[in-house]
Amino acid sequence: MLCQQCKQRPATVHFTKIVSGEKSEYHLCEQCAQEKGDFFAKAAQAFNFNHLLSGLLNMESSPGVPVPAGAPVRCETCGMSYTEFTQIGRFGCPDCYDSFSARLDPLLRRIQSSETHTGKVPLRAGEQVHARKRLQQLRQELQRAVALEQFEQAAKLRDEIRRLESQFGGEEGR
């Protein structure tokens, strides 16, 4: 069937409109449908990424994902509620991450590979974060070295960890 508007392209959007009992049918191509107004465009977009995401966000009743009691339902900084977040699939402000963190980790495990950042750290966010990341990495390496019985390497790693810990521990106490 050709588009009834331009009579050139195949009709891919089929639409029946009933206004006060009067029925009219439309068979349009994508382009003419878009020109006809945003009703068609919106209908075509109804099933989109946001809907899929909010579907995922609403999977809370699924087994193995307990929702901790007393978790805040609203971000105090921007006022967005958790329900609103699940509907639009977007946070309201950076603080939402902490406000909803209890419910966030299971979600992040579902849509990401983990819930902990391992990539770039902004220099300005301070050396603390850098030191902590480095410590984490060293501890992992130490475990690996011990498992592989590379004791010389393990000793070196242990010293480095102690050095960082004393530096870092001092800062934490302040």
Binding site: F91, P94, E115, V121, P122
Partner: protein
């Protein structure tokens, strides 16, 4: 303005330039999402929040430390005509969402349009680097340098555990989306594409057609990008994507060789037929344009068509879109009129080259 001049002006570097493996890789692109502390994300933004973000970004971009890396021209969406905004969309520099976000949006661009920064799109900042050919590592380096310079001037929202905070949880962590636009006619013509693409999506990458609706891809153009942004480093993300893209390139080359050796007659007929249609047709819709251009570009890559510049696919896939067409012909055009003008523009572009068909 002649078409030659029109193409010289206002064309991004990725359209005119070349790069490694550019017989298959159209562009490499890195996009980094960043947000500012203590300001709501654009979804909840008031006018004054939006102005604050714009002011802070504009100020940072005029700082010497940033200017040493890139000279950005900054413009608010409200100061651009609708046509200009949609031309930026067609050049892959602005998202459709930002083009419609006239009130709060802004964009910063370098002269060569390699670097761009969208302001107040879904996130406060979307830093993008787009280059022709297979240059993901280089694009990341450049985007990262701009990010470093901005970070020293702007208070980014960063969380020790979650990393860079973004409006959508699918971008949190590194905030990075690395993507490669590939032209894969060989895999499509040999019927291998679906198997290939479903394999790719099983290793944490997303594939989609660049043009066309749903799963359909027009013009054999595909975009492969990382899906995960949290839990992997930027280098891991880019490394994974690169190694998959390398394999896709090898398969595409093998498919093209197989077509040439086993099916040369059919292939030449297809390529030359499409060339003839582009050179003589009086009406072309955008779908057919992309399909025929894909054939012609394959013909150029395989030496069947000579004398036509290889950049013709990129140039025409941008310039034959609605906003560019209307800019070139300087009038508003209905879809029907566009098809006629599109055909005229393509014929004119082909006359600029000294073609030889073998």
């Amino acid at each position: 303005m002649s078409l030659g001049e029109f193409l010289q002006h206002g064309m991004s570097q990725w359209i005119r330039g070349g790069g490694p493996d550019d017989d298959i890789i159209v562009t490499s692109r890195i996009r980094i999402a960043r947000n500012l502390q203590d300001i709501p994300f654009p979804v909840l933004q008031t006018d004054s929040h939006a102005d604050e973000v714009i002011h802070l970004v504009q100020q940072a971009l005029s700082n010497k430390s940033v200017q040493q890396i890139g000279r950005f021209e900054f413009v608010r969406c409200s100061d651009l005509s609708a046509l200009d905004r949609y031309m930026l969309v067609e050049k892959h520099l602005m998202s459709r969402d930002l083009a419609e976000q006239v009130k709060h949006g802004a964009i910063a661009l370098t002269d060569d349009e390699v670097m761009s920064i969208m302001v107040n799109e879904e996130d406060h900042l979307r830093i993008q680097c787009i280059m022709p050919g297979f240059r993901l590592a280089e694009a990341w380096q450049q985007a990262n340098r701009v990010d470093d310079a901005l970070e020293s001037l702007l208070p980014y929202a960063f969380h020790e555990r979650y990393g860079y905070l973004t409006a959508c949880p699918t971008n949190v962590g590194t905030g990075i989306r690395a993507s490669v636009m590939m032209h894969l006619p060989g895999l499509v013509l040999t019927g291998q594409i679906h198997r290939m693409l479903s394999a790719v999506s099983q290793v944490g990458l997303t594939v989609r057609g660049i043009y066309g609706e749903g799963s359909e891809s027009v013009g054999n153009l595909f975009q492969v990008s990382n899906q995960i942004t949290l839990g992997e480093t930027e280098e891991e993300i880019i490394g994974n994507l690169s190694s998959i893209v390398h394999q896709l390139i090898e398969h595409e080359r093998a498919a093209r060789r197989a077509l040439l050796s086993q099916n040369r007659g059919d292939l030449e007929d297809r390529v030359c037929r499409s060339f003839g249609i582009l050179a003589y047709a009086r009406k072309m819709d955008s779908k057919e344009t992309l399909q025929r251009l894909s054939d012609v570009r394959l013909g150029i890559d395989l030496g069947i068509i000579r004398g036509v510049s290889a950049s013709i696919l990129k140039e025409l896939m941008v310039v034959t879109q609605p906003a560019f067409l209307q800019k070139y012909f300087r009038e508003e055009l209905t879809p029907g009129e566009r098809d006629i003008r599109r055909a005229a523009l393509i014929r004119e572009r082909l006359r600029l080259d000294d073609t030889e068909v073998h």
